[in-house]
Protein backbone atom coordinates (compact mmCIF):
# COMPACT_ATOMS: atom_id res chain seq x y z
CA UNK A 1 0.00 0.00 0.00
CA UNK A 2 1.01 3.58 -0.51
CA UNK A 3 0.80 5.49 2.69
CA UNK A 4 -2.11 7.77 3.43
CA UNK A 5 -3.55 9.78 6.23
CA UNK A 6 -6.36 8.23 8.16
CA UNK A 7 -9.31 10.10 9.56
CA UNK A 8 -12.29 8.82 11.39
CA UNK A 9 -14.82 11.63 11.66
CA UNK A 10 -17.91 11.29 13.81
CA UNK A 11 -20.39 13.08 11.58
CA UNK A 12 -21.33 12.98 7.93
CA UNK A 13 -20.62 16.69 7.63
CA UNK A 14 -17.11 16.24 8.93
CA UNK A 15 -16.60 13.30 6.61
CA UNK A 16 -17.68 15.32 3.61
CA UNK A 17 -15.35 18.09 4.69
CA UNK A 18 -12.50 15.63 4.87
CA UNK A 19 -13.13 14.23 1.41
CA UNK A 20 -12.02 15.99 -1.73
CA UNK A 21 -8.72 15.94 -3.53
CA UNK A 22 -7.25 12.46 -3.54
CA UNK A 23 -9.09 11.34 -0.42
CA UNK A 24 -11.30 8.26 -0.47
CA UNK A 25 -14.13 7.25 1.79
CA UNK A 26 -13.54 3.98 3.62
CA UNK A 27 -16.55 1.86 4.49
CA UNK A 28 -15.73 -1.63 5.72
CA UNK A 29 -12.71 -1.78 3.46
CA UNK A 30 -13.37 -5.32 2.30
CA UNK A 31 -12.84 -4.35 -1.32
CA UNK A 32 -10.87 -1.12 -0.95
CA UNK A 33 -8.13 -2.47 1.30
CA UNK A 34 -7.28 -5.42 -0.98
CA UNK A 35 -7.21 -2.96 -3.90
CA UNK A 36 -4.89 -0.68 -1.97
CA UNK A 37 -2.60 -3.61 -1.24
CA UNK A 38 -2.25 -4.12 -4.96
CA UNK A 39 -1.43 -0.40 -5.21
CA UNK A 40 -4.32 0.00 -7.63
CA UNK A 41 -5.08 3.43 -6.24
CA UNK A 42 -3.16 6.04 -4.33
CA UNK A 43 -5.39 8.09 -2.03
CA UNK A 44 -3.66 10.65 0.13
CA UNK A 45 -6.28 10.18 2.80
CA UNK A 46 -8.81 7.58 3.86
CA UNK A 47 -11.88 8.86 5.60
CA UNK A 48 -13.42 6.09 7.65
CA UNK A 49 -17.19 6.14 7.89
CA UNK A 50 -17.39 3.53 10.63
CA UNK A 51 -17.20 6.02 13.47
CA UNK A 52 -20.31 7.91 12.39
CA UNK A 53 -23.25 6.70 14.46
CA UNK A 54 -25.82 8.39 12.22
CA UNK A 55 -24.63 6.12 9.38
CA UNK A 56 -25.40 2.95 11.23
CA UNK A 57 -28.67 1.16 11.73
CA UNK A 58 -31.88 -0.21 10.30
CA UNK A 59 -35.38 1.13 10.79
CA UNK A 60 -38.82 1.13 9.24
CA UNK A 61 -39.86 4.50 7.88
CA UNK A 62 -43.36 5.83 8.29
CA UNK A 63 -44.02 5.36 4.57
CA UNK A 64 -43.41 1.62 4.90
CA UNK A 65 -39.95 1.66 3.42
CA UNK A 66 -37.01 0.02 5.15
CA UNK A 67 -34.11 2.32 5.85
CA UNK A 68 -30.62 0.90 6.00
CA UNK A 69 -27.99 3.47 6.91
CA UNK A 70 -24.96 3.64 4.65
CA UNK A 71 -22.30 2.17 6.94
CA UNK A 72 -24.45 -0.67 8.25
CA UNK A 73 -22.60 -3.95 7.98
CA UNK A 74 -23.89 -6.97 6.09
CA UNK A 75 -24.00 -8.86 9.39
CA UNK A 76 -26.27 -6.22 10.90
CA UNK A 77 -28.60 -6.30 7.91
CA UNK A 78 -28.66 -10.09 8.02
CA UNK A 79 -29.73 -9.97 11.64
CA UNK A 80 -31.87 -6.87 11.95
CA UNK A 81 -33.64 -6.77 8.60
CA UNK A 82 -34.99 -10.26 9.03
CA UNK A 83 -38.34 -9.30 10.48
CA UNK A 84 -38.86 -6.39 8.10
CA UNK A 85 -37.50 -7.68 4.83
CA UNK A 86 -36.45 -11.34 5.09
CA UNK A 87 -35.23 -11.63 1.48
CA UNK A 88 -32.88 -8.71 1.99
CA UNK A 89 -31.61 -10.18 5.25
CA UNK A 90 -31.08 -13.50 3.52
CA UNK A 91 -29.13 -11.84 0.73
CA UNK A 92 -26.91 -10.09 3.25
CA UNK A 93 -26.39 -13.35 5.10
CA UNK A 94 -24.80 -14.85 1.99
CA UNK A 95 -22.38 -12.06 1.10
CA UNK A 96 -18.74 -13.05 1.48
CA UNK A 97 -18.02 -14.89 4.69
CA UNK A 98 -18.69 -14.12 8.37
CA UNK A 99 -15.59 -11.96 8.78
CA UNK A 100 -16.36 -10.00 5.63
CA UNK A 101 -19.95 -9.52 6.74
CA UNK A 102 -18.78 -8.07 10.04
CA UNK A 103 -16.87 -5.32 8.24
CA UNK A 104 -18.39 -4.82 4.80
CA UNK A 105 -21.08 -2.16 4.49
CA UNK A 106 -24.01 -1.62 2.20
CA UNK A 107 -22.77 1.80 1.18
CA UNK A 108 -19.33 0.50 0.35
CA UNK A 109 -20.76 -2.30 -1.71
CA UNK A 110 -23.09 -0.04 -3.69
CA UNK A 111 -20.47 2.65 -4.28
CA UNK A 112 -18.10 0.02 -5.64
CA UNK A 113 -20.80 -1.60 -7.80
CA UNK A 114 -18.86 -4.77 -8.49
CA UNK A 115 -20.71 -6.47 -11.38
CA UNK A 116 -20.90 -9.62 -9.28
CA UNK A 117 -21.95 -8.05 -5.99
CA UNK A 118 -25.25 -9.02 -4.38
CA UNK A 119 -26.59 -5.73 -3.03
CA UNK A 120 -27.10 -4.03 -6.40
CA UNK A 121 -29.64 -6.72 -7.27
CA UNK A 122 -31.62 -6.02 -4.11
CA UNK A 123 -31.47 -2.27 -4.57
CA UNK A 124 -32.61 -2.43 -8.17
CA UNK A 125 -35.07 -5.21 -7.48
CA UNK A 126 -36.64 -3.28 -4.61
CA UNK A 127 -36.82 0.01 -6.48
CA UNK A 128 -34.79 1.44 -3.64
CA UNK A 129 -33.63 5.00 -3.23
CA UNK A 130 -29.99 5.66 -2.58
CA UNK A 131 -29.61 8.66 -0.31
CA UNK A 132 -26.36 10.57 -0.19
CA UNK A 133 -25.23 13.62 1.68
CA UNK A 134 -26.23 15.61 -1.40
CA UNK A 135 -29.31 14.02 -2.95
CA UNK A 136 -31.66 11.12 -3.36
CA UNK A 137 -31.03 8.81 -6.31
CA UNK A 138 -33.45 6.26 -7.61
CA UNK A 139 -32.01 2.78 -8.09
CA UNK A 140 -32.67 2.86 -11.80
CA UNK A 141 -30.45 5.94 -12.10
CA UNK A 142 -27.78 4.91 -9.65
CA UNK A 143 -25.90 2.13 -11.45
CA UNK A 144 -24.19 3.19 -14.65
CA UNK A 145 -22.10 0.14 -15.55
CA UNK A 146 -19.39 -2.14 -14.29
CA UNK A 147 -17.83 -0.56 -11.18
CA UNK A 148 -19.58 2.68 -12.11
CA UNK A 149 -22.27 4.73 -10.40
CA UNK A 150 -23.53 8.31 -10.56
CA UNK A 151 -21.79 9.15 -7.30
CA UNK A 152 -19.38 12.04 -7.39
CA UNK A 153 -16.02 11.89 -5.67
CA UNK A 154 -16.95 13.36 -2.34
CA UNK A 155 -20.44 11.98 -2.15
CA UNK A 156 -21.25 9.57 0.66
CA UNK A 157 -24.07 7.07 0.68
CA UNK A 158 -25.86 7.82 3.91
CA UNK A 159 -28.88 5.60 3.56
CA UNK A 160 -30.69 3.18 1.31
CA UNK A 161 -34.47 3.13 1.41
CA UNK A 162 -35.98 -0.12 0.23
CA UNK A 163 -39.54 -0.62 -0.92
CA UNK A 164 -40.60 -3.76 0.88
CA UNK A 165 -42.30 -6.22 -1.48
CA UNK A 166 -45.03 -8.58 -0.43
CA UNK A 167 -42.67 -11.43 -1.21
CA UNK A 168 -39.18 -11.72 -2.56
CA UNK A 169 -36.23 -14.02 -2.89
CA UNK A 170 -32.61 -13.85 -3.95
CA UNK A 171 -30.91 -16.77 -5.64
CA UNK A 172 -27.12 -16.64 -5.74
CA UNK A 173 -25.09 -19.08 -7.79
CA UNK A 174 -21.54 -18.97 -6.55
CA UNK A 175 -18.47 -18.20 -8.56
CA UNK A 176 -16.46 -21.02 -7.00
CA UNK A 177 -13.28 -19.05 -6.29
CA UNK A 178 -14.35 -15.60 -5.17
CA UNK A 179 -17.74 -16.70 -3.87
CA UNK A 180 -19.24 -13.60 -5.44
CA UNK A 181 -22.29 -14.24 -7.59
CA UNK A 182 -21.48 -15.97 -10.84
CA UNK A 183 -25.06 -14.97 -11.42
CA UNK A 184 -27.60 -13.78 -8.90
CA UNK A 185 -31.27 -13.02 -9.37
CA UNK A 186 -33.45 -10.97 -7.06
CA UNK A 187 -37.19 -11.34 -7.61
CA UNK A 188 -39.55 -9.01 -5.75
CA UNK A 189 -43.32 -9.10 -5.97
CA UNK A 190 -45.04 -5.78 -5.35
CA UNK A 191 -48.71 -4.94 -5.47
CA UNK A 192 -48.18 -3.14 -8.77
CA UNK A 193 -45.90 -5.67 -10.39
CA UNK A 194 -42.83 -7.85 -10.18
CA UNK A 195 -39.24 -6.72 -10.44
CA UNK A 196 -36.42 -9.06 -11.49
CA UNK A 197 -32.89 -7.77 -11.02
CA UNK A 198 -29.87 -9.71 -12.20
CA UNK A 199 -26.29 -9.40 -11.01
CA UNK A 200 -23.09 -11.16 -12.01
CA UNK A 201 -24.22 -11.87 -15.54
CA UNK A 202 -24.02 -8.73 -17.63
CA UNK A 203 -20.99 -6.82 -18.79
CA UNK A 204 -22.93 -3.70 -17.88
CA UNK A 205 -23.49 -4.75 -14.30
CA UNK A 206 -26.82 -5.21 -12.60
CA UNK A 207 -29.89 -5.06 -14.86
CA UNK A 208 -33.62 -5.72 -14.84
CA UNK A 209 -35.01 -8.56 -16.91
CA UNK A 210 -38.01 -6.87 -18.43
CA UNK A 211 -39.54 -9.90 -20.17
CA UNK A 212 -39.62 -11.88 -16.99
CA UNK A 213 -41.02 -8.94 -15.08
CA UNK A 214 -43.99 -8.61 -17.36
CA UNK A 215 -44.59 -12.34 -17.50
CA UNK A 216 -44.37 -12.66 -13.72
CA UNK A 217 -46.48 -9.60 -13.11
CA UNK A 218 -49.24 -11.36 -14.98
CA UNK A 219 -48.66 -14.76 -13.46
CA UNK A 220 -46.29 -15.19 -10.54
CA UNK A 221 -45.34 -18.82 -11.18
CA UNK A 222 -42.24 -20.58 -12.48
CA UNK A 223 -44.01 -21.57 -15.63
CA UNK A 224 -44.65 -17.95 -16.51
CA UNK A 225 -41.00 -17.50 -17.51
CA UNK A 226 -40.71 -20.88 -19.21
CA UNK A 227 -40.89 -19.29 -22.64
CA UNK A 228 -38.75 -16.26 -21.82
CA UNK A 229 -35.04 -16.22 -22.22
CA UNK A 230 -32.19 -13.80 -21.82
CA UNK A 231 -29.93 -13.16 -24.77
CA UNK A 232 -26.31 -14.19 -24.22
CA UNK A 233 -25.27 -10.99 -26.01
CA UNK A 234 -23.59 -8.73 -23.52
CA UNK A 235 -23.31 -11.43 -20.89
CA UNK A 236 -19.96 -11.96 -19.21
CA UNK A 237 -17.93 -14.84 -20.58
CA UNK A 238 -14.94 -15.96 -18.57
CA UNK A 239 -13.15 -18.93 -17.10
CA UNK A 240 -16.09 -19.71 -14.85
CA UNK A 241 -18.83 -19.69 -17.41
CA UNK A 242 -19.76 -18.72 -20.93
CA UNK A 243 -22.23 -16.03 -21.86
CA UNK A 244 -24.75 -18.68 -22.84
CA UNK A 245 -24.28 -20.41 -19.51
CA UNK A 246 -24.87 -17.20 -17.60
CA UNK A 247 -27.95 -16.46 -19.69
CA UNK A 248 -29.25 -19.90 -18.83
CA UNK A 249 -28.52 -19.35 -15.14
CA UNK A 250 -30.53 -16.14 -15.19
CA UNK A 251 -33.61 -18.06 -16.20
CA UNK A 252 -33.01 -21.00 -13.87
CA UNK A 253 -32.36 -18.76 -10.90
CA UNK A 254 -35.36 -16.60 -11.69
CA UNK A 255 -37.59 -19.64 -11.64
CA UNK A 256 -36.09 -20.78 -8.36
CA UNK A 257 -36.51 -17.35 -6.83
CA UNK A 258 -40.14 -17.31 -7.87
CA UNK A 259 -40.67 -20.76 -6.38
CA UNK A 260 -38.99 -19.71 -3.14
CA UNK A 261 -40.94 -16.47 -2.97
CA UNK A 262 -44.28 -18.03 -3.73
Amino acid sequence: MYNFEFERPSSVDDAVQSLGGEALALGGGQTLIPALKQRLNQPDKLVSLTGISELNGISMLSDGRLSVKGATTHATVAEQAREHYPALADLARHIGDPAVRNRGTIGGSLANNDPAACYPAAVLGSDATVVTNAREISASDFFTGMFATVLSDNEIITEVRFQVPSSANYQKFLQPASRFALTGVFVAKFADGVRVAVTGASENGVFRWADAESALSANFTQSAVENSSVSPDGMISDLHGSAAYRASLVKTLTKRAVAAAS
Partner: protein
Protein backbone atom coordinates in the same frame (compact mmCIF):
# COMPACT_ATOMS: atom_id res chain seq x y z
CA UNK B 1 2.75 8.10 12.37
CA UNK B 2 -0.28 8.01 14.60
CA UNK B 3 -0.69 6.52 17.99
CA UNK B 4 -3.03 3.59 18.31
CA UNK B 5 -4.19 1.91 21.47
CA UNK B 6 -6.16 -1.25 21.86
CA UNK B 7 -6.76 -3.98 24.36
CA UNK B 8 -5.27 -7.18 23.01
CA UNK B 9 -5.94 -10.44 24.83
CA UNK B 10 -6.89 -8.46 27.88
CA UNK B 11 -3.83 -6.24 27.96
CA UNK B 12 -3.65 -2.56 27.10
CA UNK B 13 -1.32 -2.01 24.17
CA UNK B 14 -0.24 0.99 22.19
CA UNK B 15 2.06 1.76 19.33
CA UNK B 16 2.86 4.20 16.57
CA UNK B 17 1.53 3.17 13.20
CA UNK B 18 1.17 4.60 9.73
CA UNK B 19 -2.21 5.13 8.15
CA UNK B 20 -1.63 2.08 6.01
CA UNK B 21 -0.56 -0.23 8.82
CA UNK B 22 -2.87 -3.23 8.87
CA UNK B 23 -4.21 -4.64 12.09
CA UNK B 24 -2.41 -7.88 11.21
CA UNK B 25 0.91 -6.01 10.97
CA UNK B 26 0.30 -4.28 14.27
CA UNK B 27 -0.33 -7.65 15.92
CA UNK B 28 2.57 -9.45 14.27
CA UNK B 29 5.23 -6.78 13.96
CA UNK B 30 4.51 -4.33 16.77
CA UNK B 31 3.21 -6.73 19.40
CA UNK B 32 5.04 -9.87 18.24
CA UNK B 33 1.84 -11.88 18.22
CA UNK B 34 2.84 -14.02 15.27
CA UNK B 35 0.08 -16.56 15.74
CA UNK B 36 -2.03 -14.42 13.43
CA UNK B 37 -0.90 -15.36 9.93
CA UNK B 38 -0.98 -13.88 6.45
CA UNK B 39 -1.90 -16.31 3.71
CA UNK B 40 -3.27 -14.16 0.93
CA UNK B 41 -3.77 -10.59 -0.18
CA UNK B 42 -7.40 -10.76 -1.30
CA UNK B 43 -9.15 -11.37 2.00
CA UNK B 44 -9.97 -14.96 1.10
CA UNK B 45 -7.89 -17.34 3.18
CA UNK B 46 -8.80 -16.51 6.78
CA UNK B 47 -5.44 -17.33 8.38
CA UNK B 48 -5.51 -13.80 9.84
CA UNK B 49 -8.90 -14.05 11.55
CA UNK B 50 -9.09 -12.39 14.98
CA UNK B 51 -11.93 -10.99 17.04
CA UNK B 52 -12.47 -7.25 17.22
CA UNK B 53 -14.98 -6.24 19.86
CA UNK B 54 -16.13 -9.84 19.92
CA UNK B 55 -16.65 -10.24 16.19
CA UNK B 56 -14.57 -12.19 13.70
CA UNK B 57 -12.70 -10.00 11.26
CA UNK B 58 -9.87 -10.53 8.83
CA UNK B 59 -7.07 -8.56 10.44
CA UNK B 60 -5.29 -8.22 7.10
CA UNK B 61 -8.29 -6.32 5.75
CA UNK B 62 -8.63 -3.81 8.53
CA UNK B 63 -6.36 -0.90 9.32
CA UNK B 64 -4.78 -0.79 12.74
CA UNK B 65 -6.21 2.69 13.21
CA UNK B 66 -9.69 1.36 12.54
CA UNK B 67 -9.23 -0.79 15.64
CA UNK B 68 -8.19 2.15 17.79
CA UNK B 69 -9.83 1.72 21.17
CA UNK B 70 -11.12 -1.75 20.34
CA UNK B 71 -10.88 -4.99 22.23
CA UNK B 72 -8.95 -7.48 20.12
CA UNK B 73 -8.58 -11.18 20.79
CA UNK B 74 -6.09 -13.40 19.02
CA UNK B 75 -5.12 -17.04 19.12
CA UNK B 76 -2.52 -16.25 21.77
CA UNK B 77 -5.27 -15.37 24.21
CA UNK B 78 -7.44 -18.44 23.70
CA UNK B 79 -5.97 -20.96 26.12
CA UNK B 80 -7.42 -21.37 29.59
CA UNK B 81 -6.04 -19.24 32.39
CA UNK B 82 -3.83 -22.11 33.55
CA UNK B 83 -2.31 -22.38 30.07
CA UNK B 84 -4.17 -25.55 29.12
CA UNK B 85 -5.93 -25.73 25.79
CA UNK B 86 -9.49 -24.44 25.75
CA UNK B 87 -12.35 -26.64 24.66
CA UNK B 88 -12.01 -25.80 20.97
CA UNK B 89 -8.24 -26.06 20.92
CA UNK B 90 -8.42 -29.38 22.77
CA UNK B 91 -10.98 -30.71 20.31
CA UNK B 92 -8.71 -29.77 17.42
CA UNK B 93 -5.90 -31.77 19.00
CA UNK B 94 -8.13 -34.69 19.98
CA UNK B 95 -9.58 -35.00 16.49
CA UNK B 96 -6.47 -34.15 14.46
CA UNK B 97 -8.06 -30.97 13.16
CA UNK B 98 -4.74 -29.53 12.06
CA UNK B 99 -1.70 -30.62 10.15
CA UNK B 100 0.72 -27.88 9.15
CA UNK B 101 -0.94 -25.52 11.62
CA UNK B 102 -0.85 -22.44 9.43
CA UNK B 103 -4.61 -22.03 8.98
CA UNK B 104 -5.24 -23.22 12.53
CA UNK B 105 -5.30 -19.90 14.41
CA UNK B 106 -7.88 -18.54 12.00
CA UNK B 107 -9.90 -21.74 12.17
CA UNK B 108 -9.94 -21.70 15.97
CA UNK B 109 -10.93 -18.04 16.08
CA UNK B 110 -13.72 -18.63 13.56
CA UNK B 111 -14.89 -21.70 15.42
CA UNK B 112 -15.00 -19.72 18.66
CA UNK B 113 -17.17 -17.06 17.06
CA UNK B 114 -19.47 -19.65 15.55
CA UNK B 115 -19.99 -21.50 18.80
CA UNK B 116 -20.67 -18.30 20.67
CA UNK B 117 -23.60 -17.54 18.35
CA UNK B 118 -24.64 -21.09 17.64
CA UNK B 119 -23.66 -23.47 20.44
CA UNK B 120 -24.79 -26.63 18.63
CA UNK B 121 -24.20 -26.06 14.94
CA UNK B 122 -25.00 -28.74 12.40
CA UNK B 123 -22.34 -30.12 10.08
CA UNK B 124 -23.59 -27.98 7.24
CA UNK B 125 -23.75 -24.86 9.40
CA UNK B 126 -20.12 -25.41 10.35
CA UNK B 127 -19.05 -25.95 6.76
CA UNK B 128 -20.92 -22.84 5.68
CA UNK B 129 -19.49 -20.75 8.49
CA UNK B 130 -15.95 -21.72 7.49
CA UNK B 131 -16.46 -20.31 4.01
CA UNK B 132 -13.79 -17.70 4.66
CA UNK B 133 -11.19 -20.05 6.11
CA UNK B 134 -9.09 -22.10 3.71
CA UNK B 135 -7.21 -25.19 4.79
CA UNK B 136 -5.03 -27.07 2.34
CA UNK B 137 -4.02 -29.99 4.59
CA UNK B 138 -7.00 -31.61 6.24
CA UNK B 139 -9.65 -31.79 3.54
CA UNK B 140 -11.71 -30.15 6.33
CA UNK B 141 -12.95 -33.51 7.66
CA UNK B 142 -11.29 -33.31 11.04
CA UNK B 143 -11.79 -29.57 11.39
CA UNK B 144 -15.54 -29.97 11.05
CA UNK B 145 -15.42 -32.99 13.33
CA UNK B 146 -13.42 -31.09 15.95
CA UNK B 147 -15.89 -28.22 15.98
CA UNK B 148 -18.80 -30.63 16.31
CA UNK B 149 -16.98 -32.27 19.20
CA UNK B 150 -16.15 -28.93 20.81
CA UNK B 151 -19.86 -28.13 20.80
CA UNK B 152 -20.49 -31.28 22.77
CA UNK B 153 -22.03 -33.25 19.94
CA UNK B 154 -21.44 -36.91 19.30
CA UNK B 155 -18.88 -37.41 16.57
CA UNK B 156 -18.66 -41.18 16.70
CA UNK B 157 -20.89 -41.30 13.62
CA UNK B 158 -18.32 -39.38 11.64
CA UNK B 159 -15.47 -41.58 12.80
CA UNK B 160 -13.00 -42.26 10.07
CA UNK B 161 -13.99 -45.85 9.41
Amino acid sequence: MSKVTMTVNGRATSGDVEGRTLLSSYLRDTLGLTGTHIGCDTSQCGTCVVHVDGKVVKSCTMLALEADGAVVDTIEGQANADGSLNVIQQAFQDHHGLQCGFCTPGMVMSAAALLKDNPKPSESEIRKYLEGNLCRCTGYHNIVKAILAASGQDVSVVAAE
